[in-house]
């Protein structure tokens, strides 16, 4: 949001109504999902714990966000996976279209 403010107001101090809008949007994400900020943080940790069992990633690069727009909540996760040497994707042999 602050980047939006910067774009709209050239880094000027936001007005009290802009502050109100931003605070409302944040609080409504939690109201609408029935989750406290602490629960959201715990959920993120658990999600990452499970993913870490299967793939290697850099925690700094992870983005997990609960967003609310148009009255619907979405959980978006973007977790760039680190390339690992040695473990390559198996070459895929195209399946024949028919037996003939």
């Amino acid at each position: 949001m602050s980047s939006l403010f910067d774009r709209m107001f050239g880094g000027r101090k936001p007005t009290s109504s802009q502050v109100a809008k931003e605070r409302l949007q944040l609080v409504l994400v939690h109201d609408r999902s029935n989750l406290t900020p602490a629960q959201v943080a715990a959920m993120k940790d658990e999600i990452l714990e499970i993913i870490a069992r299967y793939v290697d990633f850099d925690r700094e690069e992870v983005e997990i966000a609960l967003t609310s727009s148009d009255r619907e909540n979405t959980l978006r996760a973007e977790i760039p996976i680190r390339p690992t040497s040695g473990r390559r994707r198996r070459p895929v042999t195209p399946a024949p279209l028919s037996d003939a």
Partner: protein, 306 residues
């Protein structure tokens, strides 16, 4: 004739539900519709005084529900108006549990053949009184003020209305102060629509005449030429009737709001249909995003160079 039931609610108290119910009832009557309004705020009855009918109460809704009075006996007719406007008052000495949601449905079913519109003034809160008011609704009008706690409560109410399959409801923003909006010290109508993402059906300015008319028991909608708020309620009634009424400038400054709306891709004339545009353009707010993705960083730096 089978009336349409419109429930006026808000979550938070003191935002203007009773004021809106009284003024919409008068506005519907002036537009030639037969209206009945029900005060569902049992124990805290107020619609009677706002309408100026308090001295004529004999029976109330609890008397109907408990069989002490026939529906007709509890309907108080407003004699100032040519077209029928009736009030069914709340009981003052009982509490919300004296009436159940199915009682409300039954009373409305009996009332439906008699009028064109039934307006229900909901009490504040999300408990029994709200459930009572919501149960018979065909349509819900949510009143909010451009202020954080009121908008937050409205959001919660909209969620509950949707959960009851009565949603999403239509929004009235009451007590707008154009000069404060202009200064950036009050959420603009656009901000509120953006957050709540429901259809706007009216903008009502802050207007001293609302208090004056409540003092006198004579709703501002009786004199829409004298009061901007009264005029705004008349416009809301017409929109609820399905008419296409452009959003008026609340005063000179409210052309500012119209500019605002236009800047978002729609003219003040079609806010109703246009608020989808606002939704699509809306930025997702990010609660606790951990860090930027590499992709985003690259895009940003590329953008800075070009």
């Amino acid at each position: 004739m089978s009336a349409r039931v419109i429930t006026i609610t808000s979550g938070k108290g003191g935002v203007g539900k009773t004021t809106a119910t009284a003024n919409l009832a008068v506005a519907f009557a002036l537009l030639g519709k037969k209206v009945a309004c029900i005060d569902a705020d049992i124990g805290l009855r107020n619609l009677d005084v706002v309408l100026g009918l308090e001295n004529r109460i004999v029976y109330d809704i609890v008397d109907i529900v408990e069989g002490r009075a026939k529906l007709r006996q509890a309907m108080i007719r407003d004699k100032r108006l040519k077209e029928d406007l009736y009030l069914i008052p709340a009981a003052q000495t009982r509490d919300k549990t004296a009436v159940s949601p199915s009682d409300m449905v039954r009373v409305c079913d009996e009332l439906k053949p008699l009028v064109d519109y039934i307006l229900i003034d909901s009490p504040a809160g999300i408990e029994r009184g709200f459930r009572n008011a919501l149960a018979p609704a065909d349509e819900v009008v949510i009143i909010t003020n451009p202020e954080v706690s009121s908008v937050r409560d409205a959001d919660r109410i909209i969620g509950l209305i949707e959960a009851e399959q009565k949603g999403p409801g239509k929004l009235v923003i009451n007590r707008v102060k154009p000069d404060m909006v202009k200064r950036g010290d009050m959420l603009s109508p656009e901000d509120v629509i953006d957050i709540l993402a429901i259809k706007l059906v009216g903008l009502v300015p802050e207007d001293e005449l609302i208090l004056v008319s409540a003092n006198q028991g004579s709703p501002a909608a009786l004199t829409p030429d004298k009061s901007k708020a009264g005029k705004a309620f008349q416009n809301i009634a017409r929109r609820l009737l399905g008419q296409d009424v452009p959003f008026m400038a609340l005063d000179e400054d409210l052309t500012f709001v119209q500019r605002f709306l236009r800047a978002l891709g729609f003219s003040s004339e079609n806010v109703d249909s246009g608020n989808n545009t606002a939704r699509n353009k809306k930025n997702n707010d990010k609660a606790g995003s951990t860090s930027k993705s590499e992709k985003e960083k690259i895009e940003e730096s590329a953008g800075a160079e070009s």
